[in-house]
Symmetry: C2
Subunit: 429 residues, 2 copies
């Protein structure tokens, strides 16, 4: 084909703070996917976008062009309204695990296409893979069958969805162009819109353990994504939520599955239960479902029923024993007082160093590795009290984890807990 | 070797407007030359430099790192002081051709390592290659011999000088990162400093036919380069000169050689003679030569003698007939009045379209192609008077040249010539 633009013209336009035209955006994404625009040209354009920004119109078109680079799923054959949730990633954030079956138990269909972890935040698929026999990779037909039979499916996104995003994501990672709101928003939303959900709730994390540490930046990202979703016809709402302290009492793959099952059994840590219920109500409402109370579905066992069917449908044994790591190291309090802070980032990096996370795509993770928290901010602590249990298969990993955990917990004789509210902001346009 | 930095850290530092350390700059240039930093990483860094700038210290270190990526020539065996000139490129800018032998005739040694043209500006080597038999490619030994025997040598820069710059230049060309003063200045000066000249005069063109259209930008570039040269121990001065109107009456390879020989014979257009003499005086002065008048060396034939020896030493026949293009098209005035303007860019692009220039590295150029100007701004014009002669071997090229030349000349019944002074600014620190 004759290319309508030269890459250098498009780069120069953004470099010179001009708005890119629809035709320029469509072309540059398509040409990059086809290999006509080279990596070194796209990375120069990404840096210009990072530094000079994009208008709402540009972000919307860029997202659409990424969707158009691949196929789009379609769920019109279902008898239930679809609803999905996306979290920007946090420490101990296992909410998808109880949430997807809970919303299904309330009448929604939840096609939850998830990813694996990279760095200090865990990945939903890594967590579920600690269940013996469970398979993340499904064909489109299998995915539809699980969704139809169970009301929810959590699986890996196929390679056909937004292939431009896959290529761009890998490029951004090595060129210091990850941290641009237009690029983050379009990356997340192109995949979620291509996934074909009718309703979408975004959980944008903020605080020291989140990608967007600053609540103002998180709010801008959240609003940008809500606008992208709505303009693509997806009912989209966002919650900016706290990630200054880990969610729940576990960080790590099998450890988090255990805690999720506790929540589905009607127990579990208060913050996990609360956030799960808030997000479930948002999804149910956005999907247009009325008269269903997710709190009841947790208590009466119907959410747990969906969970068990869903795990079984993907080859997993819901009664199978979850793995434990071979080695354990306990951390005790060396002082008495009130715990007023716990650094989510330090806990996340420690779990990663214990083997729960990966540094490069494709790296194996340990199913049993991670951290159990025996106390959280707000608790009164006595010298010698057990604070954390570290788990790993490789004891040489303890030293690195302990190093980063130094100073991760603040215990004072008397003081106020200083932390973000669980729900920092709710965004609906 | 263990790399002291990750490329992504260095890119992120410049992206976030931090000053790069000496160690970061040294590493990133060396690692890029070695292929450890990938093209897509360097292009993101170049865009961040273009948009966020560099301090004087960073530019100086970046230039030094490019010099250190290759070898450096050394001329201590000569009995004459070395002096060189660099022009940022203009339309009809053949000054190097009469200037190098002229300065040699005044006692200087001129090691003029030149390039080929790209786009609307011509290249010194392309011009000289229209002389039958003349060779641009010399070994270091041949170059030294010509310089010693003739006092001047004009030849291609070997691949050993600033190899990082060669790689960066090709990358900048395809990533819209050419137009950054730190990158332009370091590219030019790394080559000129590596070339080993003791004195350097920079001719920074400004106006519509120049790379730096805005005289203020040209001035910043000139000052940046003078500071780079001086800090590397090279006596460096810059002139910002006019390129709103073509220099002289010819644009094209053999056409410009003819005009240069006229200047060496004591004739030639006034503006070419004037600029040649001004630059010669600057070079002589910067080289520390006293008591020599270049005007005399033009008139008494001594500059012409050097020219003839220099052309012969590189295989050329100074008496050989210069080629003419096969086809000619003449443009006549359609109105009477005063010529008050002539657009250098349009004339340059027209000569390029006639075959005098190239669009891609490695493309052939026509020796005879180009434009003769029969009138210049300030002249009184009568309807029907010959204004320009276009030359090419391929008559199908006339249409494209005529298209761009439309409106290139302004003739009014009565009016002032509006153009830049030949010398806009002189910079010495």
């Amino acid at each position: 084909m004759i290319e309508p633009f030269a890459a250098v013209e498009v780069i120069a336009a953004k470099r010179d703070r001009n708005e890119l035209s629809d035709a320029q955006i469509d072309w540059v994404i398509s040409a990059y996917t086809r290999g006509v625009v080279a990596d070194e040209q796209m990375s120069a354009l990404l840096m210009a976008i990072l530094l000079n920004g994009m208008t709402s119109r540009e972000i919307s078109r860029w997202t659409q062009a990424m969707i158009d680079s691949g196929s789009r799923l379609e769920w019109s054959g279902l008898n239930r309204p679809t609803a999905d949730k996306h979290s920007t990633g946090g420490v101990g954030d296992k909410i998808t695990l109880p949430l997807a079956p809970l919303v299904a138990a309330c009448g929604g269909a939840v096609p939850q296409l998830s990813g694996r972890g990279l760095g200090h935040t865990g990945g939903t698929l890594d967590k579920l893979e600690s269940i013996p026999g469970w398979r993340a990779e499904l064909t489109n037909e299998e995915m539809l069958k699980v969704l139809r039979d169970c009301g929810a499916v959590i699986c890996a996104a196929g390679s056909g969805l937004a292939p431009a995003d896959k290529k761009l994501y890998a490029l951004r990672d090595v060129t210091a162009t990850v941290e641009a709101i237009p690029l983050i928003a379009s990356s997340i939303m192109s995949k979620k819109i291509a996934e074909g959900t009718a309703a979408l709730i975004l959980d944008v994390k903020t605080g020291n353990g989140a990608f967007m540490r600053d609540p103002k930046e998180a709010s801008i990202l959240a609003r940008t994504m809500v606008e992208l979703g709505e303009s693509a016809g997806v009912t989209t709402r966002a919650l900016v939520t706290a990630m200054d302290v880990p969610l729940g009492l576990t960080v790590g793959n099998a450890l988090e599955v255990r805690e999720s099952v506790e929540v589905l059994a009607g127990g579990g840590p208060a913050d996990v239960v609360e956030l799960t219920l808030i997000l479930a109500r948002e999804m149910i409402s956005a999907a247009g479902i009325v008269g269903k109370d997710p709190e009841v579905a947790l208590k009466d066992g119907s959410a747990m029923d969906v969970w068990r069917r869903m795990i079984k449908a993907q080859g997993g044994d819901p009664d199978g024993e979850l793995p434990w790591a071979k080695e354990r190291h306990q951390i005790f309090a060396t002082t008495s007082g009130r715990m007023v802070g716990m650094n989510a980032m330090k806990v996340g990096v420690a779990a990663w160093r214990l083997g729960a996370g990966r540094s490069r795509q494709g790296e194996k993770v340990q199913a049993g590795a991670g951290i159990e928290l025996h106390a959280k901010p707000g608790h009164e602590i006595t010298t010698g009290q057990l604070l954390m249990s570290l788990h790993t298969d490789e004891p040489e990993r303890f030293a690195g984890a302990l190093e980063i955990l130094d100073g991760s917990v603040t215990i004072v004789p008397d003081g106020e807990v200083k932390r973000l509210p669980l729900i920092v902001e709710r965004i609906q346009v």
